[in-house]
Amino acid sequence: MTALDNLFTKVRAENRAALIAYIPAGFPSQAGCQRVIAAFIAGGVDAIEIGFPYSDPVMDGPTIQAAAVTSLENGTGAAEVFQALATASAQVPAVVMTYWNPIERYGVNEFSAAIAANGGSGVITPDLTIEESQGWISATDNSAINPIYVVAPSTSDARLAQVTAKCSGFVYVASVMGVTGARTSVSTGAADLVARVRKTTSLPVAVGLGVSTREQAKGVAAYADGVIVGSAFIKALQDAPDEESGLAAVTELARELSKGVREGR
């Protein structure tokens, strides 16, 4: 059992959803990322996703693309990702989210082992298909961490069953067809997709893409075990006149969202 598994057991007992916050390592700076993690904790997030910035983020909208560029300019590599992961995982369950090539380049077994060594519970791999996962599944088994896959509204029922069978920790439901970024409404399709996922697995299900407000978090928490928020936090940092006020905005947003995930049921 990972810390992440234990978290979902706990929030299910509390009859609420978990709030999962995303920040790329090295954003807005290496030290700034450490402060963002502290701001998340102060705001009451339940788990943290550390992003491994990548040069070709085809799943990400402009907000996270810009953050990835900043992070790469700040010299972020695997070492900085693991450092941020260790900081986060010392306080709450933490995972890494990364496109596949940085894992392959680092070494599949080595990457998985480093996640475990830095207290990480798992890895979210948005562009790794189950067909290409053989080595990764055995690596994550050996390291006793959760391989977390992302499913989409276009994923067929038959395919959902195949993907969730490879998954552990939680199933990441992309709420809409499209890239990451805050949206004015969370697609009603998300609830349908969560329901379809639940027919294939008893794993917790967390919803991401487009959540940025307490009301949206409340709406998603009505049917999901976790609410994932990324772009809204990054935008709060980007829009702030200075880092201090950005961090204050992050904590405030986290507080609001953590109320939302408790109001859904």
Binding site: S55, E131, A152, M177
Partner: protein
């Protein structure tokens, strides 16, 4: 005369040895499966095959001719140099072969909108052309840097009714145009076909695009046998993503006496780090949905490529090329900007043919290989595109004033 290829390098699930495959968001899996099935069934459908053949004959102008380049050959050790004239196709390059095939598949799948990426603009122009012909909506993503280098092609696409979207992220070249096209596709996959222009990307693209271009090699083999009475010693082509090269190579893979040589963009020289020679100077990795050679750093971040040729300026390469390289069936060499531009000028002055700068890399390779093999050799070069679009770049390079 014509025997079927004995080596089928297209293996299950779109793998070529350790390369190829599918590394994409789950959101795209359904569309890729639909495309794979549409491609498979269309190949067995006589109506589809006849419709594409008719377009080749009456619209693009196939079969393209071969031209023996006797004056150019004097600079290539006196070897016989034969040019496969894909530059004479409608829209001026080999790209039309793939585009017509995929546009027909788009209609077969009931989709009304195509998106495409383009570097030099050749694939964008070809896509806009096919969209106009078949009444499809067309959006072309093009790196902002490339829209400046290839302004003429931007105007051509607009005349043909396409929307051209300049991409301002990353290096603002082909790689980033593909990223943006994939983001569009993830968002609009139900209505939209991504008309990828090269033999890269997730399965089935490398196999499907190869299938639409293999007619180049099939025609070439028969034409060269008819002209010379024997198989060529060498078949050469430039390699960016690698579509024209796979197109001319594929029919010759099962002819072991025929050397296959791909010429990559060496930019300022592979040793300088400013190049786009992915097989020569890269390492295995995953980019844009497929595993192949990639120009990347120690953290797996894609490194920006550099080439005078927008069409070769790409830090990845098709997975089948990676496989042909590893098993030793094809060779890959890097040609610098300077070597390519020398060959470009030479073909203009000796044969009256202005080639695309992409193609000039293959011509430069032929000058090397001709001198290595001498006058008994027969060398075939895929003249993949014409150079009208490159006149500004060439004039600038050679110091020819434009008023």
């Amino acid at each position: 005369m014509s025997t079927e290829p004995q080596i089928d390098v297209s293996q299950i699930l779109g793998h070529f040895g350790p390369y190829g495959g599918r590394f994409v968001p789950e959101a795209l899996i359904g569309a890729l499966e639909e495309l794979e099935e549409a491609h498979r069934s269309s190949q067995l459908d006589p109506t589809f095959v006849a419709e594409l053949a008719e377009l080749h004959r009456t619209y693009s102008g196939r079969p393209s001719i071969i031209t023996e380049a006797k004056r150019f050959a004097e600079h290539a050790g006196g070897a016989r140099i034969i040019l496969k004239r894909e530059d004479l196709n409608h829209t001026g390059s080999h790209k039309i072969n793939n585009v017509l095939g995929q546009a027909l598949l788009t209609k077969r799948m009931g989709k009304k909108r195509i998106i495409a990426e383009t570097g030099a603009g050749q694939h964008g122009v070809a896509s806009a052309t096919a969209a106009a012909l078949m009444g499809l909506e067309c959006v072309v993503y093009m790196g902002e840097e490339d829209t400046k280098r290839q302004a003429l092609n931007v105007a051509r696409m607009k005349l043909l009714g396409a929307d051209v979207v300049p991409v301002t992220s990353g290096s603002r070249t082909l790689k980033d145009a593909i990223n943006e096209a994939m983001r569009d596709w993830v968002t609009n996959v139900e209505t939209t076909h991504y008309l990828l222009g090269t033999v890269a990307g997730p399965h089935p693209f490398p196999t499907m695009v190869r299938d639409f271009h293999k007619i180049i090699g099939e025609e070439t083999r028969e034409q060269v046998l008819a002209l010379t009475g024997r198989l060529p010693d060498v078949v050469m082509a430039c390699v960016g993503g690698g579509s024209n090269a796979i197109g001319i190579f594929h029919r010759f893979i099962s002819d072991p006496s025929v050397r296959l040589i791909g010429l990559e963009a060496g930019g300022d020289g592979v040793e300088t780090g400013r190049h786009a020679a992915t097989i020569t100077g890269g390492t295995p990795g995953v980019l844009h949905g497929t595993r192949s050679y990639v120009l990347q750093d120690a953290n797996g971040q894609t490194v920006e490529s550099h080439s005078i040729s927008a069409g070769l300026d790409y830090p990845g390469v098709g997975p089948e090329h990676a496989y042909l390289h590893d098993i030793g069936r094809a060779e890959y060499r890097a040609i610098t900007d300077e070597q390519a531009m020398h060959a470009f000028a030479l073909l203009c002055k000796t044969e009256g043919i202005i080639p695309a700068i992409e193609t000039a890399h293959a011509l430069a390779g032929a000058l090397q290989v001709g001198n290595e093999l001498g006058k008994d050799a027969i060398i075939v070069i895929n003249l993949s595109g014409r150079g009208d679009k490159d006149v500004n770049t060439a004039a600038d390079y050679f110091g020819i004033p434009l008023n």
